[in-house]
Amino acid sequence: MADTAKPADTNRPALALHVPEPTYRPGDPVDFAHIDVGTAGGQPRPDEAAHPSEMGELAYSLVRVLGDDNQAHGPWNPRLDPEMLRTMLGHMAMVRAFDERMFRGQRQGKTSFYMKCTGEEATSVSSSMALASDDMIFPSYRQQGILIARGYPLLEMINQIYSNRADKLKGRQLPIMYSSREHSFFSISGNLATQCPQAVGWAMASAIKGDSRIAATWVGEGSTAEGDFHAACTFAAVYNAPVILNVVNNQWAISSFSGFAGGERTTFAARGLGYGIAALRVDGNDALACYAAAEWAANRARGNHGPTLIEYFTYRAEGHSTSDDPSGYRSAQEREEWPLGDPVTRLKKHLITIGEWDEDRHAAMDLACAEQVKAVTKEAEKNGILGHGLHHPFHTMFEDVYEELPWHLEEQAEQAIRERITKFGSERPFG
């Protein structure tokens, strides 16, 4: 068809395709004045049994607790005791220290891949702390904060990242795709949003059995475009499933801004309303608001009042992963100008303001986190780093495809070991 195709013989106007374009590209000065962040404490907190239609406004505003004065405000203040707040801050600081070291480890060639969650720590740490430890988590790939908050050993995380001989996943998964049944943390998939209907199915099972545990899943705003997310919303609504659907809106899906998931038209929380699901839009950099929203949704689910969709409005301060350079597609100023600040800094300032923390203790904590991660990293390296021979035996490659090894895999396993011996003269040349 010709480029100049125009409707002939008609007065109808020519149609135009809208291809979304982010406001700022590399080098652009950034002004986020158009983002309405509302005021801390300004949002009503409905009853946990409220009908979604009675609370529609909460899908468009932002639930906020921590104000510019670093105090907690309004009905969403979860009123946590200082010890709990310090624990929360400690987990967030540990996540940040861990991310720093693992990112560097990838750059040093110790592994193939890593993903930071810088700026989004509260959306995992704080919200998961509002759940019971045996509530089931169906994470995406950026919820390392949940594992750390649940006490999963850092050593196991690093063994997995290095795919070494102590890796509990036997070197089969891309780094950071953790799994821990013991910590009610589902195996992470690289295929996006698949965890959403799975979480709903788990929650349905819990309800079928008359259990008291609920499920919660995390997904990025970009992945809400997947059919799985919508299947999950439909199933959650249809069966009134005891599940929390967390959408981490960090504005960017690799290089695609939230507009490519529909973010120019409405909020991600508003997706819930169309399904008749209670929806909350939350300041994702406000640890107290994250906790409060998750607590509300958990109580709602536990009371058989149904699912909740929570949009955490936040900002991905670093690249998507070690594989992309964000300076190639967005303005570096965005991070500095983000109107909702940094979640660790905000919680720290709150604790200092209420007289429960100080800069010295914070600096000491940061140092202790860095030291601990460093020590555990050294420990993990004794088990090997990626590609340096200290991996699981070849035969394990063929195990767990099925519960029992079928003949064709047994034949292929024999071949793999034969190839190994041909190349190195022994199956395990590195011991």
């Binding site: 998939s189 698949t194 709903v200 099972a205 767990d400 495809v401 519960e403």
Partner: protein, 358 residues
């Protein structure tokens, strides 16, 4: 004991009394019975799918099960195959043993990511932390004037996926025993039911009256629990002239053509495509030296290609003629020309003639 059960050496632990009266039932009834038994035996078994609840399924496979076992165990779902399979993965992670129904195999594609990337890989990627012990039942195959969206045979899409098992029964007896084994299996199983033979063993002679199952010896099905192990073929006819490898509807078609032509065929009903009973295949081809593979699915990259390759790789020096594949054509399943697509007696007869030529 009936003639049928007496012949089944590999069925495990039938708990029906040996002197139970002989019953003849069709494949739908056999499937319904297997589901009923498993719902009764195992409180973790649940059934879900489009129209499977109150209504009992568009093919009646789940009739009466909701009334008997309750809405918590047998229930309808939204029209979302992705959601059905995705939810089944989560239920499996919880500890349930879901048996989702996909109304037609042609509808399974929206659930493929959940099957291929999730259910099939879960045990592997979590190193056994989580499993997906689901059995996905789905009617497949043509011959019912279903047009291109109610006739397909997509088994090769699933046999290609490591981590999935693919099971296809050809008789009421097998349907019950294999379905029970599939539900008890801890790996995800695709259980394709040849809907053309739900009510009778179709022989491919579509212009002749269809016989009901009641006249077929394989419709004798014991009451109660029994299982047929996955991965074991059924050696349904001993012969010397050639080996027939088939499954589902095509077992009956191939058998009828061999009988009509008076060919002394050695016929294997594969029953399970993955894991495949390679020993039975090797033994048969080594004996006959000639091999015909029959499936209804399209030809290119069909499961017949895998069978042909295996036979050639493993039995080459026993072969006296090239392996013959008899399949559907590489077109969508045409509505009005369904019998022109179907690998019926003429196409099978031609292949037999070629194989036996010299």
């Amino acid at each position: 004991m009936s003639e049928k059960t007496a012949n089944i050496g590999d069925a495990i632990a039938a708990d029906a009394p040996a002197d139970a009266p002989e019953r003849r039932i069709n494949m739908i009834e056999a499937i319904n019975e297997a589901l009923d038994i498993m719902l009764t035996r195992d409180p973790d078994v649940i059934i879900m799918g489009e129209d499977v609840g109150y209504f009992g399924g568009v093919f009646r496979a789940t009739a009466g099960l909701q009334a008997k076992h309750g809405k918590n165990r047998v229930f309808d779902t939204p029209i979302s195959e992705c959601g059905i399979i995705g939810a089944a993965v989560g239920m499996g992670a919880y500890g349930l043993r879901p048996v989702p129904e996909i109304q037609f195999a042609d509808y399974i594609y929206p659930g493929l990511d959940q099957l291929i990337s999730e259910a099939a890989r879960l045990r592997y990627r979590s190193a056994g932390d989580y499993i997906a012990p689901m059995t996905v039942r789905s009617p497949f195959g043509g011959g019912i004037f279903g047009g291109q969206t109610h006739s397909q045979s997509p088994e090769a899409l699933f046999t290609h996926v490591s981590g999935l098992k693919t099971v296809i029964p050809a008789t009421p007896y097998d349907a019950k025993g294999l379905l029970i084994a599939a539900i008890e299996d801890n790996d995800p199983v695709i259980f394709f039911e040849p809907k053309r033979i739900y009510n009778g063993p179709f022989t491919g002679f579509y212009d002749k009256p269809v016989e009901p199952w009641k006249k077929h010896p394989d419709s004798v099905v014991p009451e109660g629990y029994y299982r047929i192990p996955l991965g074991k073929a059924r050696h349904l006819r001993e012969g010397e002239a050639l080996t027939v490898l088939a499954y589902g509807t095509m077992v009956h078609v191939a058998q009828a053509v061999c009988e009509a032509k008076g060919v002394d065929a050695d016929i294997l009903d594969l029953r399970t495509l993955v894991p495949l009973d390679i020993k039975a295949i090797e033994a048969s081809v080594e004996k006959t030296g000639r091999c015909m593979i029959v499936h209804e699915a399209t030809r290119t990259s069909g499961f017949g290609a895998e069978l042909s390759a295996l036979v050639t790789e493993r039995c080459f020096y026993h072969l006296e003629a090239p392996v013959e594949r008899v399949t559907g054509f590489d077109t969508p399943y045409p509505h009005s020309l369904e019998w022109a697509y179907f690998p019926g007696p003429v196409r099978i007869g031609e292949a037999i003639d070629k194989l036996l030529k010299d």
